[in-house]
Every structure is written in C-alpha cells, then in structure tokens.
C-alpha cells in the first residue's frame, strides 16, 4: 500500500523485523511508541554487525590496518550524521543520548563557573579560557519552558543550584502551547542561556522558535534546542535555525541505543570547558595539568561509541533514502486520521493541539473516568503498544491538571490500520471500564 503521501509503508515495514512480532497470546504487534524509542531497520543492524565482524578496533588511537579502517568508519559516520541535519562534522559531538548532550551543555556553565572561581591561570590549565558568557552566579538566569522533558529541565536545575543562578521558564497556555506573552520579561539581559524543546513529546506542539531565538539573541543569551522529537520526524537544517546548539537521540531515529548527537556552533564548542575528560580528548598530559584536543574530540573522552555511530549513520542514510519530508507528511496524515477518529469518541479528550497546525505526530489523550494505565492495559491486551504516564514532563502534566495520559506516536512504519487499532482500543477501554 502506497499512501497518499507517497510512502510505501508495506515495503518499509518489511525492513523492520520486529514489526512481524506477536505479543500477548499471538496478537500482531501495533507499535505506537516511537516517540519513546523507534524500531530498527535491518540495514542498521547489518551495518553494526559488519563493523564488529570486519573492522572493529580502537579508533583514533591505533596505527594498524584495522585501527585505520575503524577510524575512517567512525569519522565517515560522523560526517553522514552531520549531513543529516546540514551540519559540519567538526560541530557534531557523539554522545550517549540527548540527555547526556543536554547535561554537557548545562555542565559547560557549572564547570565554567567553578573554574572561573579558581582563578584565571588555573581555569586556563583546566581548559577554560574564561568566556564570561558561561560564568553564572546570583543575578544571572537560565530560561527553559514549562513543557520540557525532564532531560531539558533537571540538568538546568542542577546548574542553577551549583552556581546560584535563577531558573525561569516560559509558561504554557491551557491548550498546552507555549505562552510567549511575557517573553521579554522572562528572557532578559540577565539571561545566560535559553534551552527549549523543538516539539513537545506530550502534546506534539511545535515550538514557535523565531520570536524566542530573536529575543535570546537580542539579550546576548545562548539558545539551545532539544530536538529529540524533531530530528527523527522532519527535515531539520541547523544552519537555518539560528540556535547555538541542538541535540537529539539516535534511538528515536531508527538508530542503535546508546548514541546521541550534540551539534553546536564552533564558537560555542571552542568556548566550553571540558566535560568528561580522559583519553582521546587531550593533546598533552602532565601530572598536574593537561592541554586539550580541538572539538569535537575534546568532548569525546575515552573509547568512543564506535559501532553505535556506524549504526546511526546507516539510520540517517536509510531515512534520507526515504525522505524526511515524506516521513513528516506521512506522520501528519496519520495524525489527522487519529484526531478524526478520536473526535468520534465523546469520552476521549486530546491533550494539546487538536488540529494539525504546528504539531507533530504524537497524540496524547485522556479518557474520561479511566486512568491512563488502565487504558494502556486494554490497548496492550490488543497488541497496541502506547506510552502511558507523565511522559517525563511532570510539570506540564501538573500545569494542565492531569495525572497521566495515553500517548500514541507515529513513525514511517505505521499505517492507517495502526491508527484504527489505536482508536478502536480507546473505544474498547471506555466500554470495558465504563460498561462494567
């Protein structure tokens, strides 16, 4: 079946071995939890395996034939991954997941602050050149939003606690959109950094970036983007965004677990002090001091995520082969189907935007009088895998006055039947719990 959006979903599905699995006494699996983690096509698994079976060796440390090949494979993977978002490879740091990338950014501030306190010489010897924009303290602020994933909130709480900076946030409207009416009072001259999600993992709402980036620029603050829900699902071109850094996780874009990407402007990478330190990120080491390699190596301490990088590059290749614009269209189509189906169910309420304006392919719902985990249980019993809970965005839930919700998220391998199974499962949950 080729959908209206030109995606041959049946062919795509055949690339993903897990999609033919059966669960719970032989129900066919309907996987609608890709916003948590995506499934892996065979080409990704093959690429990793081929690396281990033919090339595996220490990268950037060895001089023998395998080490050369492994280093080339790793750096070519970085190049391929950078291309996926229109970035330069030297601007792409390969990390464990988006959470680590956001911590790396937050630690740049707390480490810079601690090192600045140690004095100019000590700071320089520890790899921090003294850029005052990274030094926090009382009177400076960090800005996030109320709908952030914990990964883009807790690290900033920690940075604020360590440095004495104030944490402020953009609030949300009752429909789960960012409320920008107080933008200028929240992002001010005292703001060192604004870190914000590109798209909510709960409501699917896409962040109106332009005014936020403009305001951050106007006050001289860094602006970072948590693109976990954007890069896997739509074409992203870092050059056009105007942000200083952007990160995402490989496992949400059909890549292996254990790899994520931090893209950052060269100037920012050069200014940040080391994060994790050790082998491969140094130039020279004496007992009491070290000098450091240029980015991105400076931020990749220890033996790298070699096979994972190769797997992620294969995933980028695979997705680009299908076309990110086409994938976005496809998700949009499935989202429209889901919203239409849900509109027929009076007991089911969508959290966040109920139309297709500025929203991605995740749909979270509340079922009147039925707890999300009970809804999820009914769906699971029918083979439909969705996410239930607070989706790691507890403050958003609290603000919207909801405890937990049921989230379906769509990806390239989902089709209209999957959406129908989701909607039918919601109806079944209603009748199971309200009928009894």
């Amino acid at each position: 079946m080729i959908t209206a959006t030109g995606l041959d979903v049946a062919a795509v599905r055949a690339d993903f071995p897990i999609l033919s699995r059966r669960v719970r006494d032989n129900q066919p699996l309907v996987y609608l939890d890709s916003a948590a983690t995506a499934q892996k096509p065979r080409v990704v698994l093959d690429a990793e395996r081929r690396f281990y079976e033919e090339v595996n060796a220490a990268v950037h440390r060895g001089a023998h034939a395998l080490a050369e090949e492994a280093t080339d494979a790793y750096e070519e993977a970085r190049q391929r991954i950078a291309t996926f978002v229109g970035g330069h490879p030297e601007q792409c740091v390969l990390v464990r997941n988006a959470t680590e990338a956001l911590n790396l950014l937050a630690y740049a501030f707390s480490n810079a602050t601690a090192l600045a306190g140690a004095g100019r010489v000590a700071a320089r010897e520890a790899g921090f050149d003294g850029d005052p924009r990274l030094v926090l303290g009382p009177g400076r602020s960090i800005v996030v939003s109320e709908l952030e994933h914990h990964a883009n909130l807790v690290p900033w709480q920690q940075a604020a606690a360590k440095t004495g900076a104030t944490l402020r946030w953009l609030p949300i409207t009752p429909t789960g959109r960012l409320d920008l009416s107080d933008l200028d009072r929240i992002i001010t001259r005292d703001t060192a950094v604004v870190s914000i999600t590109a798209q909510s993992n709960v409501t699917g709402a896409i962040t109106p970036l332009v005014p936020i980036v403009e305001r951050a620029r106007a006050v001289g603050a860094f602006i970072f983007l948590d693109a976990c829900q954007a890069v896997p699902n739509s074409p992203v071109d870092v050059a056009g965004l105007g942000v200083d850094a952007l990160c995402w996780s490989g496992h949400k874009m059909c890549g292996p677990t254990g790899i994520g990407v931090l893209w950052a402007r060269a100037e920012l990478l050069a200014a940040m002090p080391p994060f994790l330190s050790g082998g491969s990120m140094i130039d020279t080491v004496e007992m009491t001091r070290a000098t450091f390699a240029l980015p991105p190596q400076r931020f990749e301490a220890g033996t790298p995520l070699t096979a994972q990088a190769i797997g992620l590059a294969a995933a980028a290749q695979y997705l680009d082969g299908i076309g990110m614009a086409r994938i976005a269209d496809h998700e949009r189509h499935l989202t429209a189907c889901a919203l239409a189906g849900i509109a027929e169910l009076p007991e089911v309420r969508v959290i966040g935007p109920t139309d297709l304006v500025d929203r991605g392919g995740v749909v979270s719902v509340i079922v009147d009088g039925v707890h999300a985990h009970d809804v999820g249980q009914v769906l699971d019993d029918r083979g439909v895998a969705v996410r239930v809970g607070h989706h790691c965005a507890w403050p958003l839930n609290r603000r919207l006055g909801i405890a937990a919700s049921t989230r379906a998220s769509f990806y390239l391998y989902n089709d209209e039947d999957d959406v129908a199974a989701f909607v039918a499962g919601l109806a079944a949950a209603v009748s199971y719990f309200r009928g009894r």
Partner: protein, 148 residues
C-alpha cells in the same frame, strides 16, 4: 479473557466502591508514596490503638483501578488487626506481587487480596498494587517511632 484475569470482579468492585476512602482523624501516623512511572500519589493514615491494633486506615489516592482497589482491599484486610498480623499480610502480598504469575496466593492469609495474583504477571503494574501497602508499612513504621 487476559484482561478479565487481571481486572477480576473483586478488583473492579473495590475500585467502584472504595472502602474506607477519605482522610480521617484521629491518626497515629501518615505516609505519602508516589509511583514515579505514572506520577500517582497516595496519602495514607493509620490509627493505632493502645493495644497495638490498627483501629483505622484512611487514605486519599489518585491512581489506576489496580491501585485504588488495592487501597480498598487493604483497608478491609487490616482494620481491626494487631499491627504484627497486618505486617504478615503485607509480606504475603509483597511476595505474591513479586511472583511473576507463579503464585496464586494463600486466601487464608490474603483474603480478597488474592484477586491481585494476576497483576504479578504485569511487572509495570506491580507497583500500582503495592503502593498502598508501601504506604501502610511506612506509616506503621513511623507510628512505632512515635509511640516509642
């Protein structure tokens, strides 16, 4: 069928008509427990009398059918019992929940709570059933601290 073995009638009945729901005075100690995966919270109070008997258990809780029913069953099971006997039930219930469907539970000890046997087959729901019991254990622990 799979669903019905999880949401047994006993569970659904307790879920609909929660025994002992609401927070009451007097109480000896109170415990708040939160289930980090869903964000649900229970606040549970015990009133222990001079003889070490549980005179009342009162609670307020947000949560799924399993956790709501579990609180209700708990109330009915332990009110009026000596603390030590309540803790025996708590242990048996904990063991049942960890059994991964391999244990049917002893109705002599557990009473209505055996209806939760099916929950143990769903690891993500075990915490739901345990939450009120964790609160009970904690509250009794605190009440001991107070009475000592």
């Amino acid at each position: 069928m799979r669903l019905d073995s999880l949401y047994q009638d006993v569970i659904m009945d307790h879920y609909r008509r929660r025994s002992g729901h609401g927070l009451r005075e007097p109480f000896t100690a109170e415990s708040c427990q939160v289930n980090p995966t869903c964000g649900d919270e229970i606040r549970l109070r015990v009133a222990v009398d001079g003889q070490g008997r549980i005179a009342d258990v009162s609670y307020e809780a947000a949560g799924c059918a399993i956790s709501q029913a579990s609180a209700s069953v708990l109330h009915d099971a332990v009110c009026g019992l000596p603390q030590s006997e309540a803790m025996i039930i708590e242990s048996a219930f904990h063991a049942l929940m960890q059994s991964r469907g391999t244990d049917a539970g002893d109705p002599e000890v557990l009473g209505d709570a055996v209806a939760f046997a099916g929950v143990s087959r769903y690891p993500a729901r075990v915490k739901c059933a345990l939450l009120p019991w964790m609160a009970l254990k904690d509250a009794l622990h605190r009440s001991e601290g107070i009475s000592r």
